[in-house]
Structure formats: structure tokens, C-alpha cells
């Protein structure tokens, strides 16, 4: 994280704190909002996100659930259909697979299938990603995979500002929204205006403007990609870095504008390569700006392997700064 002076009216806080502030703020503003999930209350959240909220809001609105992912996600769906605004925390994306039937067959089908009579204004938050040596069953990166499903929105806040600001907008959305919080970001600190609040969730953000190549990424990979851009700058490659922020829908306009200008692109995606979101983004470039491309589009993704525990193997399995740098240089035919 770039270290800068904290301006007056600015606070420095962690991504974790920013998520907590977002929940607290939403709970205060709208009494239909409540948080429900495993260990969100007494334990304070498996990543300490909801610490302190039980004391402030009580056990009805900071609702500890049994280990019943399908059951309580479905309960969130029902409560949302009846007019509440639940935030379901699924702890981590790894456990969300147990709730997938409810998400896929109930939450996302109801509006269309009922001819718009019922909707599911539900927010589901979960941690995602590898990097903490938690091994194969606890290191999935499936946010891009979820983005395949019509009927949901998929958000991936990468900055403290977005961690603070996306939740409220997601709660305003009349349809189910999934928010993926990369586990490697919780301890990251960043600056936030003291009056920071909701942020738009429609547009991708250009986190670093550049002329020579577009590096497109999201979530936990944003910071690695920015670091790679700095390295590339040292090699006279001026990279533009785009943070997708929303994985469904994708903001094609921002992506294509950038690529049409730089004429070269790399997509950095922590999902397994085959069938990852990176493929969709690349394919859209082919469909929309094929004639503008000066070189094949590059991808930096995770190796196609259940993420191993050993640190060196895990590191090798997921995108790292040198891989991004190398991929970008390869586009320019440089080794």
C-alpha cells in the first residue's frame, strides 16, 4: 500500500474495519438490515469483521447461526422476499458451495420465474482467495465463477473505500448481490475520508492510468498488479491498471476504452485459468475491439491445481508480481 500523509478529515483504517463500519452504518440507517452467519456474533466473525456489533445491535440483528449454510442462506432469501434486508455472511466461499442450490435455484430464479412478483434483495458476503496456507478446501477463488450466473450481482471490493462503500449500494439493490472479500486484504490499511459512505458499484476504476498496456484485475490481485505496474514503469512500459470492482455485470465500456487505446491487454485473475473470468473478459475484447488489438491478450491466473498447503507451492500456484511483469513483457516480445 502506498504510504501517504493522512489528511485532516481522513482516517486510516483496515479493510476489516471498513467492512465493519459499512455493516454498522447500514444497520443504523435501516432497521430492516440484519447480519446472520456462523460466528458473526459472540465470536466476532471468523476474520473479526463483526467484532463489537453484537454488543451494539443484539442477537436478533447480529444473528449467530448453526452450521447450516444452505438453511440460513435460504432463510436470508425468505426474509428478503418478505421485505427484510439481510446480510448473510457465509464465512468463506469454500462453504458457499453448501448453499449453492439456494443461491442458484431460489435466489436468482425467483424474480424472472414469478414474472417480477417477488424479488430477493439479499446481500451475501464471504471471504475468498488463497495465500494463507489454508490448503485445498479453504483456498478457493470462485468469485469469477459465480459471475456466470444471471440474476445476481457479484462485487469484489479491493480497496478500503470500496469495502466501506459497496455494501450499502448492494443493500439498495433489489436483487441478490454477492460481495467477495479477499482474505489477504483484511489487514491492509488505507485512508478513508471521515465522511466516506456509499460508492457506486456500476463502474470499473482505473487505478493507474497508462499508455502502453492495460492490466485488468480485481480483488486481491489489484495490489500485486499495481506493484507489477511499478516494476514495468522501470522498464519503460507504462501500464494502465483497471480494477473491475463488479464482476457481474462487467463494465465493458471502461475495459474497452482502455484496451482500444493501449491496444494490448493482460488479465490477472486468481481463479484457475480454464474457464476463469479472465476468459470472458478476453473474449469480450475479441468480440468488441478485435481490430484494435496489436497482440494476443495475456492471462495470469492460478495454476490448475487444488491449492497446496506448503508456502512455496501455494505461492507458485497463485498469480504473483513477477508473473504479471513477465506476462506483460511477453506481450511486447521481451523476455
Amino acid at each position: 500500500m502506498p504510504q501517504e500523509m493522512i489528511h485532516p478529515g481522513t482516517t486510516e483504517l483496515t479493510y476489516r474495519d471498513a467492512v465493519r463500519e459499512a455493516i454498522r452504518d447500514a444497520m443504523r440507517r435501516d432497521d430492516r438490515v440484519f447480519l446472520m452467519g456462523e460466528d458473526v456474533g459472540r465470536y466476532g466473525g471468523c476474520y473479526a469483521v463483526s467484532k463489537g456489533l453484537l454488543a451494539e445491535f443484539g442477537p436478533e440483528r447480529i444473528r449467530d447461526t448453526p452450521l447450516s449454510e444452505s438453511g440460513f442462506t435460504g432463510a436470508g432469501i425468505g426474509a428478503a422476499m418478505a421485505g427484510m434486508r439481510p446480510i448473510v455472511e457465509l464465512m468463506t466461499v469454500n462453504f458457499s458451495l453448501l448453499a449453492l442450490d439456494q443461491i442458484f435455484n431460489s435466489a436468482v430464479t425467483v424474480r424472472h420465474m414469478s414474472g417480477n412478483q417477488f424479488g430477493v434483495p439479499l446481500v451475501i458476503r464471504m471471504a475468498t482467495g488463497a495465500g494463507r496456507q489454508l490448503a485445498a478446501q479453504h483456498s478457493h477463488s470462485l468469485e469469477g465463477w459465480y459471475a456466470h450466473i444471471p440474476g445476481i450481482k457479484v462485487l469484489a471490493p479491493a480497496t478500503v473505500e470500496d469495502a466501506r462503500g459497496m455494501l450499502w449500494m448492494a443493500l439498495q439493490d433489489p436483487d441478490p448481490a454477492l460481495i467477495f472479500e479477499n482474505v489477504m486484504l483484511y489487514n491492509m490499511t488505507g485512508k478513508l475520508a471521515a465522511d466516506a459512505g456509499p460508492v457506486n458499484i456500476d463502474k470499473a476504476a482505473v487505478r493507474r492510468p497508462g499508455r502502453d498496456i492495460s492490466l485488468i484485475t480485481y480483488g486481491g490481485s489489484l495490489w500485486k498488479t499495481l506493484e507489477a505496474a511499478t516494476v514495468l514503469a522501470g522498464e519503460n512500459i507504462d501500464a494502465e491498471v483497471i480494477d473491475l470492482r463488479s464482476l457481474r455485470p462487467l463494465d465493458d465500456a471502461t475495459i474497452m476504452t482502455s484496451v482500444a487505446r493501449t491496444r494490448r491487454a493482460i488479465i490477472v485473475d486468481e481463479g484457475w485459468r480454464s474457464g476463469s473470468l479472465s476468459a470472458e473478459i478476453g473474449m469480450r475484447m475479441v468480440e468488441q475491439v478485435f481490430w484494435e488489438l496489436d497482440a494476443p491478450i495475456g492471462r495470469v491466473c492460478s495454476a490448475e491445481v487444488p491449492i497446496p498447503y506448503a508456502r512455496h507451492l501455494e505461492n507458485a500456484a497463485i498469480p504473483q508480481v513477477p508473473n504479471i511483469v513477465a506476462a506483460a513483457k511477453a506481450v511486447f516480445g521481451r523476455a
Binding site: 432463510a75 425468505g78 424474480r111 414469478s114 440474476g151
Partner: protein
């Protein structure tokens, strides 16, 4: 036949009403079967013949503000709840005049006006929804209750277990109604459950329960009254097992290799309409004219529904992706 215990409510009019609702469902299903062979109705369709006493016994006991969650075998529930037969049938025709705009079909009847939260084609899939509806009511302090219908096949699903536990643990006003018709498609209860006494499942979650002869509409209604009252007053879940039987095939694609014709015949003698009608006759509570009137009213209603379905229009194909997400106006509305 269970003698009516709750006399004052069981006016003759009321008693005839029960019969009429059952006949209404039976005749409607017959029409659906006919329309299916004519290919007016397509997809999967599951008829309710033999089980009418359940929906008819339970649903009228609910208040308008209460909520209902059903399965793919839900024509009867929708009709008894008051979803117009016209829009139910138009739905199966796939017309935009249908209660789900023609997008749901037989398995997905929805109706906001009557708090009918849909047919659900995933076995067990509706139970968590019901828990959530009741949770919303609890959190807001509303006194609505949610009735959730499902078959005994759903009892094997993990979601059954999770939902009953959540409802009991959190004290949620859900009336779980298990329509135990002894088969899940071709799988007999004994092939699906190590404990075949379904009512006992409730006790595992400390949920009050009752099992009732689901072929006896008076008994079902009386049990439903007790159940609804218990949920309304205690704000806790209640489990009602209705022991019934499906007289037709599981769906329109079922050759019924898994059960004997003789078994079906035995149950045909217990079926709820003939039985109840016989009881009404024996007690001189019904006259041939009553029956004739009912039949002709039902026939007229069905004819009207068919005409409505036939006259219905197709949703323009340009609207295919509409309401995958809410529209701006709908957003403001929510």
C-alpha cells in the same frame, strides 16, 4: 370419518364448501391431464388427485396475511388459496396472462396478492424460504405465520433437517405440512427413510407435531386448526404430517412400475372425495341438487379458465430477459 368436533364452525355451508373445493381441484386436474395430452400444457406436471383433503383442510384455516410455500405439486394449493383458476391455467398454457407471466408453468405458480410464494421444483428447496419468511415476521413482530408444504421425500434432504432446526431454535412461526403420500416418484418411504414414522422427525428438533389421516378432510381441518392456533399463539413451529396417497402417476411420464395396481385400488377406496361425500350423504347434509350445483359451478369455472388460457397472449419474445434483474421502476417500488 372423524366426527366434527368444532360444531359451530362446521355449518352445513362450510361443510359443503370443503367438498366443493375438493371437487374443484379434482376436476381441474382432470382438465389439466386432458390439456396435457393435447399438448396445450407442457413440461413436468404433477397432479394432486387423492391428496385434496390436505390443501383443502389446511389452507382455508390460514388468514389472508399468512404466507404459503408449496412444491411443484401445487395446483390444488394455489386454487384453494384463491389464486384465480384463470391465471393458474393461463400459466400452464405459457401465456403472459398466467400468474407467473407464463415463465413458471405448472411447477412455479406464484401470486403476490395471496402471499403464495410459489411452487418450487427443487425437493426441499422451499423449506429454508419458509424459515426466512417466518424470520422476517418474527423480527418485525408481525403475527403472520408461514405454511410450508412438502412431500415425505423431502424429509431425506439435508435442508429439511437444517430448516426444522432453525425454525425451532429461533422460535419461528412456521407450520410445516408434510404431505406423506408414501412415495417420492418411485421410491417408497421404507426405501428412503430408516425411521418411517415421519411425525417422529419433529420431536428430534423439539417441535410439536401431530399426524393426521390426510384422506379425511374434517380431520385435517381440525388438526390444522389446532396447528395454526399453536403457531399463532406460541410463535413456534409446528409439524403436521398428513397421511395421504397419490392416486395418479407421479408426473405425466411415469409408468408406475414401482407399485401394484392392487395397492392403488385399496387406496382408491379411501380417497377423500367419495368418502367425504358419502359421509355427508349418510348424515343427510347434502342433497343431489347440491352436488349437481357444485359440479356445474366447477365446470363453468373450468370452462372459463380454459377460455382464458386459450385467449391469453404470448409474452413478446423481446421481453425474454426482462426481470432477470429488477427494472428501475420496480426498484423504486420495492
Amino acid at each position: 370419518m372423524t366426527p366434527p368436533t368444532d360444531k359451530p364452525r362446521l355449518s352445513r355451508e362450510h361443510m359443503l364448501g370443503l367438498l366443493k373445493q375438493m371437487i374443484r381441484i379434482r376436476r381441474f386436474e382432470a382438465k389439466c391431464a386432458e390439456l396435457y395430452t393435447q399438448e396445450k400444457i407442457r413440461g413436468f406436471m404433477h397432479l394432486y388427485d387423492g391428496e385434496e383433503a390436505v390443501a383443502v383442510g389446511v389452507i382455508p384455516v390460514l388468514e389472508k396475511r399468512d404466507r404459503i410455500v408449496a412444491t411443484y405439486r401445487e395446483h390444488g394449493h394455489a386454487l384453494v388459496r384463491g389464486v384465480p383458476m384463470t391465471t393458474v391455467l393461463a400459466e400452464m398454457y405459457g401465456k403472459q396472462d398466467g400468474c407467473s407471466r407464463g415463465r413458471g408453468g405448472s411447477m412455479h405458480l406464484f401470486d403476490r396478492a395471496t402471499n403464495f410464494y410459489g411452487g418450487n421444483a427443487i425437493v426441499g428447496g422451499g423449506l429454508p424460504t419458509a424459515v426466512g419468511l417466518a424470520l422476517a415476521d418474527r423480527m418485525r413482530g408481525d403475527d403472520s405465520i408461514t405454511a410450508c408444504f412438502f412431500g415425505e421425500g423431502a424429509v431425506a434432504e439435508g435442508e429439511f433437517h437444517e430448516s426444522l432446526n432453525l425454525a425451532a431454535l429461533w422460535g419461528l412461526p412456521v407450520l410445516f405440512v408434510c404431505e406423506n403420500n408414501l412415495y417420492a416418484m418411485g421410491t417408497a418411504l421404507a426405501i428412503s427413510e430408516s425411521e418411517t414414522n415421519i411425525q417422529r422427525k419433529a420431536a428430534c428438533y423439539q417441535i410439536a407435531s401431530e399426524a393426521v389421516d390426510g384422506m379425511d378432510v374434517i380431520a385435517v381441518e381440525a388438526a390444522a386448526r389446532r396447528a395454526v392456533q399453536a403457531v399463532r399463539e406460541t410463535r413456534k413451529p409446528y409439524f403436521l404430517e398428513c397421511r395421504t396417497y397419490r392416486l395418479r402417476a407421479h408426473s405425466m411420464f411415469d409408468a408406475q412400475l414401482y407399485r401394484d395396481k392392487a395397492e392403488v385400488e385399496v387406496w382408491r377406496h379411501k380417497e377423500p372425495i367419495v368418502r367425504y361425500q358419502g359421509w355427508l350423504e349418510a348424515n343427510h347434509l347434502i342433497h343431489p341438487e347440491d352436488l349437481a350445483r357444485m359440479e356445474s359451478e366447477v365446470a363453468a369455472e373450468i370452462a372459463e379458465a380454459v377460455a382464458f388460457g386459450e385467449a391469453g397472449t404470448w409474452e413478446p419474445v423481446e421481453q425474454l430477459t426482462r426481470f432477470t434483474y429488477a427494472e428501475a421502476a420496480a426498484q423504486a417500488d420495492r
